[in-house]
């Protein structure tokens, strides 16, 4: 598969800033793929998106689209000449234009007839046909979202960019809009890069996820790989709960606050080990032991907060039924196969 | 309800404060008034100095409001018997006639000066001329000689085609000139004269009288109809280039063989309800005194109304002339007809 978008060793520093907003980031996005850029706020994901769009110059490296360099140290192809369209976080719908006019906006270079058929096509695709003459402020949040998407895909961009596309929607709506939008994008086959701070968004919509921290790319992979094999606790923590414990190697075992675990294959001296809550098995003859600190009812399950003797590195254990009380002792074990080790 | 009251009170209070800080100076009714209030259309520095001379001599303070004559007439009308004004001073007899017709003036009686010829004042004695200006033909010395000129009427002749520079018909001076022609002849003749002038214009009417002279200096137009006063100002300008323009034209007094050259009178009248009538009379007498008349003549280049006083040197150099002695009431009577004729013949 050929990469449509190539990000090659890109670095960027804002004027006056002390540290890099992007530091040597390289990612390839292949045709038809949906890539999510994820990370905590300030990690550089929006800067990367805006650099791809052509709104921010870069200081080092290259960005190319369809093998043509659009951003480099010396070159900054204007946004309008990149064949990239961006769906803004606040949607940026033109308030003085109807839905149809908004969609038609980027099509002005096409013949009239083609414009019309393209507009009809995206209106149908986004199920907005009956709202064509409405103004943005007359539509609901989900509808506005679809208008923004329709407007962006109408121009058949080489790359579609979306900045926090779901952040303005409430939880219920979000679930629906997410699957709608993924379906629409997949139907058109447009290569897409989206930015989201919400792991669930990325999980559901993206084919691959790139995680940034402090401007540095941490990992790019499918959701499954990232969930199961995060390269560091930061990445691991980003996609759901993870228990991280300080550990020391001793012979075939690692020592933690809660006891020791057999880890013959591992090859490290000291560092961190981590596992997902679902890897924990509670049973009376478990090797590991702690004290129940708190019990939180979460509806479908009960979460038990456990601490070790040093009262550090809390572990959250999920149980369907629990008879534990505060300050009870709790024994559990973790299968060595489920343990991740970080140096 | 309370808030309404407080709001209302605040408004009333603020209005009263603003007003009380700035009311006009009060003059006691009992004690002898030591001031006189004048509404004037004249904005000249010469007037200001003359008024200062008056205060110095008599100790009577002069309070002045300067504005357009018609605005002042409107103000006098609205103020009615409460008006503080004692005197109404204009640059054009027509406006005084208008004020008189609206009953805003009173007879001058004792204030009429014997030294001012009868044709420079209202026939019923409601106002008195102070200065006058002649509406003359100015010609470009380079291309026109005085012997080619004769009358206003002659300028309508096709031989002047494309050679006349003249200001707009909204000027009161052009209106009273046409009114004098209507009076001397009839409406039809006056209309064909106006049409003839329009046909002979070198350019669309624009600017004031001075601008006509400067246009001629630039070669636009060869003759113009202007007030002597403006030529005087130009010749005494602080800008040497303006003096040069003034020197490039000659002055010709038209209609000397017939009814005489048309003149405009700048005059003064006492208002109907003048609160300081005595002082007003004193001021009129002062303005017509030989001393002040000669001061006006030398500073504003107008002809003094007082026949005993000679005009300024610049003005005297143009020579003596015969004035059109038509009654000002007649001019005023024909004024609106004149304006209508101007509009009909397209004199802008």
């Amino acid at each position: 598969m050929k990469p449509v978008l190539k990000i090659d060793s890109v670095s960027k520093k804002y004027p006056g800033a002390k540290s890099f907003a992007l530091n040597d980031v390289s990612i390839n996005v292949i045709e038809g793929e949906i890539l999510a850029l994820a990370g905590e706020s300030g990690c550089g994901k929006t800067t990367l998106l805006r650099s791809i769009a052509g709104f921010e110059p870069i200081q080092n490296g290259e960005i190319s689209i369809d093998n043509e360099i659009v951003s480099s140290t010396t070159k900054l192809t204007p946004a309008e000449k990149r064949g990239v369209s961006l769906v803004f976080q606040d949607l940026a719908l033109f308030p003085h234009m109807s839905v149809e006019k908004n969609i038609a906006f980027g099509l002005n270079k096409l013949p009239k007839a083609e414009q019309q058929s393209r507009i009809q096509e995206v209106l149908e695709l986004t199920e907005l046909t009956s709202y064509a003459q409405r103004y943005p402020h007359e539509l609901s949040g989900g509808q506005q979202q679809r208008v923004a998407l329709a407007r962006a895909i109408a121009v058949k961009p080489k790359v579609l960019l979306m900045d926090e596309p779901f952040s303005n929607l409430d939880e219920l709506l979000k679930v629906r809009v997410r699957s709608e939008i993924k379906a629409i994008i997949k139907k058109t086959g447009i290569t897409t890069v989206l930015v989201s701070h919400d792991a669930q968004d990325s999980f559901e919509v993206a084919d691959r996820i790139a995680i940034l921290k402090g401007g540095v790319l941490q990992q790019v992979d499918t959701s499954l790989e990232i969930y199961n094999k995060p390269v560091n606790p930061y990445v691991g923590r980003f996609f759901g709960e993870i228990c991280v414990l300080n550990a020391k190697k001793a012979d075939q075992q690692v020592l933690t606050d809660y006891g020791s675990i057999d880890l013959p294959r591992m090859n490290f001296n000291s560092g961190k080990i981590a596992f997902r809550p679902e890897a924990i098995k509670v049973h009376d003859d478990g090797d590991l032991m702690g004290t129940v600190e708190d019990i939180i009812y979460r509806g479908s399950y009960t979460e038990i907060v456990v601490s070790g003797p040093n009262k550090s590195d809390h572990i959250h254990v999920r149980l369907n039924n629990s008879t534990f009380q505060r300050n009870d002792r709790i024994n559990f074990s973790v299968s060595p196969n489920d343990i991740l080790v970080f140096e | 309800m309370n808030r309404y009251k407080i709001n209302f009170l605040l408004i009333v209070l603020s209005i009263l404060t603003v007003v009380s800080c700035s009311g006009p100076s009060k003059s006691g009714e009992e004690t002898k008034s030591m001031e006189v209030n004048i509404y004037t259309q004249r904005h000249y520095d010469a007037d200001k100095k003359a008024f200062e001379m008056f205060t110095e001599k008599t100790g009577i303070k002069i309070n002045v409001v300067k504005a357009g004559a018609d605005e002042l007439i409107n103000k006098l009308e609205l103020e009615g018997d409460a008006s503080p004004a004692d005197l109404f001073f204009t640059v054009d007899a027509g406006k005084l006639y208008r004020a008189k017709e609206k009953g805003l003036l009173q007879k001058l009686d004792g204030a009429l000066s014997a030294d001012v010829p009868e044709n420079l004042r209202d026939e019923d004695g409601f106002w008195q001329g102070v200065t006058y200006r002649a509406r003359v033909i100015a010609y470009s010395k380079d291309v026109v000689t005085p012997d080619q000129l004769s009358t206003y009427e002659d300028l309508a002749d096709p031989r002047w085609n494309g050679k006349i520079a003249i200001r707009s018909s909204s000027s009161a001076y052009n209106q009273s000139l046409l009114a004098s022609i209507i009076n001397a002849t009839d409406e039809e003749t006056a209309k064909s004269w106006a049409a003839g002038i329009v046909a002979n214009m070198a350019r669309e009417p624009q600017g004031g009288d001075r601008d006509q002279i400067k246009a001629m200096a630039s070669g636009v137009g060869e003759v113009s109809i202007v007030n002597t006063y403006y030529v005087g100002l130009l010749l005494n300008s602080s800008n040497p280039e303006e003096v040069k323009a003034g020197e490039s034209v000659g002055i010709f007094f038209p209609n000397q063989e017939g009814r005489g050259t048309h003149v405009n009178v700048s005059g003064i009248g006492i208002t109907k309800n003048a609160p300081n009538k005595e002082n007003a009379i004193k001021l009129i007498e002062f303005l017509l005194s030989e001393e002040v008349q000669s001061f006006f003549a030398n500073n504003s280049y107008e002809y003094p109304a007082n026949s005993k006083v000679a005009p300024a040197e610049t003005v005297a150099a143009w020579g003596d002339f015969k004035k059109d002695n038509l009654l000002f009431s007649k001019v005023a009577e024909h004024n609106n007809t004149a304006v209508k004729i101007f509009d009909e013949v397209g004199w802008k």
């Binding site: 369209s85 | 624009q206 400067k214």
Partner: protein, 537 residues
């Protein structure tokens, strides 16, 4: 229509106080016109109307070109000496149109510097004619464009930068993004600036008279001054007012359902242009400054050189102080009342009361001398009833108290220039989301506290621009000052006029220069405040 409450009470008294003189003029529209009107209708009206439309169109186009292009560049680009550009683009409004007209005519006439110079190197006698409709369009536009510039700049700065980026990411060039997105969204603001320009064109008499161009206003003064028929003059004025009111309404209707406020407010990224593009932009901003400020300024200085010794006396300082205090006082009064009126209609949230409040801005559309007639009817009327009341009830004899007072003059400015202060304040209130007030109310803050704690701080920029505009406008005001001033009271404008009216342009130059100089002080100071406010928000 909502029930009558304290806010509708405020709207009512403000509109009554400001509107009565306007309504007195307006009521003439329903009376039977006189013979003079018949004459004007038959012989002149067509010509007047055609000329007026031509001037309005011409000045509108030129002020839009000057004002919008410079505002766009200032709002979006980093220029060298940007601070100076910002106020230099405002300062031309300190020059009265008729003074600009006289300056340009003087520059090009026989005794002017250009032709004096040409004569000195070449005996040929050139002749330039600027005194025609094109000339009027030029001289008026070059000093009126800042009205458009000010409103357009603040509209551009307050626009969401995201909208322009969205447009560009959809493949539009920056020019197309400008005229398809930025311009239409700024339209209401630009139109409010343009409305002031149009009203200035309609009420101008000095420039058109000097340049010999006959307009509708010429008709008004022809019937009054030449024919002594004030009633016809007022009738014509009321027609003018009707046309302005209609066009305001039509513009509002024409906006239709489209909204111009965008909820997102993200900053525009300033462009860093270089080379030819940068110098082109600098040039575009320089042209209106040169035409509307530098050239007239130089001509006035040239004149002042001849007359300064003769004209400048110790009294000049007093004239300057008079002008400054009057303009400052009027600015504060007008802006305060504008804030109260706009805040009242905002709380009232009723189309009826908003419509009523618009009556208050009509005083700007007719010539000052005519609005003075309506104002004098009120002032002198109150004065005379005060006299008779005091005399009958208390046997106290007084003279006219309000007439000829500074208070009367300030009231007249309020009636005439209310529109100038109202526009920026109205636009400023529109930018504040209603939810802010509602949030404050839900936190237990009353409407007055809301006004002072929430709205006024957010309105700072709008209040400052309203203050500048009113200040500068009152500085150059003439007809109202002439007729309503107290005895022996002069301002710089009356002094400048006194000489200009008597065809003594050089003598009028020092006062005109001082008007510009005093006008510059608040423009520079307030522009600095505005600039820091704009960048910080």
């Amino acid at each position: 229509m909502k029930k009558f409450n304290v806010w509708s009470f405020h709207i009512s008294w403000i509109v009554l106080v400001i509107g009565i003189p306007i309504l007195i003029i307006f009521s003439e529209l329903f009376k039977t016109p006189s013979d003079t009107w018949q004459h004007i209708y038959e012989t002149l009206l067509a010509d007047y109307v055609v000329n007026t439309i031509f001037l309005v169109l011409g000045v509108s186009i030129l002020t839009l070109v000057f004002g919008v292009s410079s505002a766009w560049i200032i709002a979006t680009t980093n220029l060298p000496f940007k601070r100076a550009f910002e106020w230099l683009l405002i300062i031309p409004i300190a020059i009265p149109s008729y003074i600009n007209g006289i300056a340009y005519a003087g520059l090009l006439d026989y005794a002017g510097p250009i032709r004096t110079f040409l004569r000195s190197i070449n005996s040929d006698n050139y002749y330039f004619d600027i005194a025609n409709a094109w000339g009027v369009i030029f001289v008026m536009s070059s000093v009126l464009f800042p009205y458009v510039y000010i409103t357009a700049r603040s509209a551009f700065i307050n626009q969401s930068g995201r909208l322009l980026e969205a447009s560009r990411s959809l493949g539009s060039s920056s020019f197309r993004s400008f005229y398809k997105i930025a311009l239409p969204i700024a339209r209401p603001a630009i139109v409010s600036g343009l409305m002031l320009v149009i009203m200035e064109v309609l009420n101008d008499y000095g420039t058109v008279k000097y340049y010999g161009v006959t307009t509708f206003t010429t008709g008004i003064f022809r019937s009054w001054l030449s024919m002594g028929d004030l009633q016809s003059a007022v009738y014509l004025s009321s027609m003018l007012m009707g046309v302005v009111f209609l066009s305001i309404m039509i513009e509002r209707l024409q906006r239709g359902k489209a909204k111009y406020e965008s909820k997102s407010k993200t900053e525009l990224n300033l462009r860093n242009d270089t080379g030819l593009k940068l110098w082109l932009k600098v040039g575009i901003c320089l042209v209106p400054i040169i035409l509307g400020f530098i050239i007239p300024l130089l001509q006035l200085l040239y004149w002042a050189f001849f007359s300064i010794e003769k004209i400048i006396t110790s009294e000049f300082i007093n004239f300057g102080i008079n002008s400054f205090l009057l303009a400052g006082g009027a600015a504060v009064i007008i802006v305060s009342i504008s804030v109260l009126l706009n805040y009242s209609t905002r709380i009232q949230q009723s189309k009826f009361w908003t419509g009523i409040s618009k009556i208050s801005i009509l005083g700007y559309s007719v010539p000052g001398a005519v609005i003075a007639v309506g104002i004098m009817v009120i002032i002198i009327g109150i004065d005379r009833s005060l006299i008779s009341w005091l005399e009958n009830s208390f046997d106290i004899k007084i003279k006219l108290l309000i007439t000829g007072s500074i208070g009367a003059l300030l009231y007249a400015y309020l009636v005439r220039y209310f529109a100038v202060g109202f526009g920026p304040i109205e636009a400023g209130f529109k930018k504040i989301p209603l939810s802010l007030n509602q949030a404050a109310s839900s936190l237990g803050s009353g409407p007055l506290k809301n006004l002072f704690k929430i709205n006024l701080p957010l309105l700072k920029t709008s209040i400052l621009s309203a203050l500048i505009l009113v200040f500068v406008d009152v500085m150059k005001e003439l007809p109202l000052t002439l007729i309503l001033r107290p005895f022996n009271f002069e301002t710089l404008a009356t002094i400048a006029f006194q000489y200009a009216n008597d065809e003594m342009a050089p003598e009028s130059a020092p006062a005109s220069l001082l008007i510009i100089l005093i006008g510059m002080i608040p423009v520079i100071l307030l522009n600095r405040l505005m600039a820091s406010d704009e960048t910080s928000s």
